[in-house]
């Protein structure tokens, strides 16, 4: 088991489809919202939020490591982009 206590930084990673990549799920959500009477809804795009706890105190190191995680696993950079948010 991965030790999950004793972490000193929290990160939130947003993974979303790149602009120009079709998002049929977002489209279906938009249609459903229109069906519910939310007529003012324009384009809808959906994505993922991944929360991570990190054993790291150095913000720059944490960012570099998160970027590496995104490139290697969390996002498929062929179709997705990512944003990293850090909370001490």
């Amino acid at each position: 088991m991965v030790e999950r206590t004793d972490t000193n930084m929290k990160a939130r990673v947003f993974v979303t489809l790149k602009n120009g990549v079709l998002d049929p799920q977002g489209k279906a959500i938009g249609n459903a919202l229109h069906g519910l009477g939310f007529g003012g809804v324009g384009e809808v795009r959906q994505g993922k939020v991944i929360d991570l706890e990190l054993k790291e105190t150095d913000e720059a190191k944490a960012r570099a490591s998160l970027k590496d995680m995104c490139e290697k696993l969390l996002a498929n950079t062929v179709i997705e982009k990512y944003e990293i948010e850090l909370k001490a």
Binding site: L22, P24, N76, V78, I79
Partner: protein, 222 residues
């Protein structure tokens, strides 16, 4: 031809691939568990269909990080043949052994039916027993088979004759770019495709249009 079928947790077409290979090669393929770090001495590696690791994160994403995939990559780098069917195709794109990505079907529906394919390319170990332009019927069964790549990549695939199979005009089941159903890597020893040739190797199963793919491999690699 000696072959291996990789078994991930939640692979579910591994037995189909095993049965097809046994029937056509007369030899039992090795069934290789995802935690193995070495492959037996084989000519062909099959990445079967299924829902490896429950499709967690993205289809094929977790499988691409498994220890056996390092060995599969090394096998391909040495020129060994690899075929990824359905989820296996998704694993190949996630490991960057093939370009592009397989996205959610355009209509969001899981599609499970026979589709008409056109054989686009016969200059490969996988397709030499087909005729160029031949129309075959092979079943698909997937929710995420919508092939996507940027225009530059698509142009390159077409320019280098690396589109092996296309969905016949009017029979694209998932919204794939340029009706692409299966592609080859640059060295032409890795093929990924969404349709299931291993399910049509016996008339009892409703067709034999997948047989020529395995016979091509047997002829090339045996």
């Amino acid at each position: 031809m000696k072959s291996a079928v990789i078994v991930f947790p939640a692979s579910n077409c591994d037995r189909d691939a095993q049965t097809a290979l046994k029937q056509l090669t007369g030899k039992d393929p090795h069934m290789v568990w995802h935690q193995e770090s070495a492959l037996p001495d084989v000519d062909l590696v099959v990445l079967p269909g299924g829902f490896s690791y429950g499709d967690y994160l993205r289809c094929g994403a977790m499988a691409s990080q498994s220890s056996v995939m390092k060995a599969v990559k090394a096998h391909a780098e040495k020129g060994g043949a690899v075929i990824g069917i359905c989820n296996g195709f998704q694993v190949l794109t996630e490991t960057h052994m093939l370009p592009g990505a397989l996205m959610r079907n355009a209509d969001l529906k899981f599609v499970c039916r026979p589709v008409k394919l056109t054989v686009e390319e016969t200059q490969s170990a996988f397709t030499r027993k087909y005729a160029k332009g031949q129309q075959i019927t092979v079943p698909v069964a997937h929710g995420e088979g919508n092939y996507f790549a940027d225009d530059e990549t698509l142009n390159r695939l077409e320019g280098e004759n690396r589109v092996a199979f296309r969905y016949a005009e009017g029979d694209n089941p998932n919204g794939s770019a340029r009706n692409i159903a299966g592609i080859l890597n640059e060295k032409r020893n890795v093929l990924g495709l969404m349709p299931h040739p291993e399910r049509v190797v016996d008339p009892l199963l409703g067709g034999e249009d997948g047989k020529a793919l395995f016979q091509s491999l047997i002829e090339t690699l045996a």
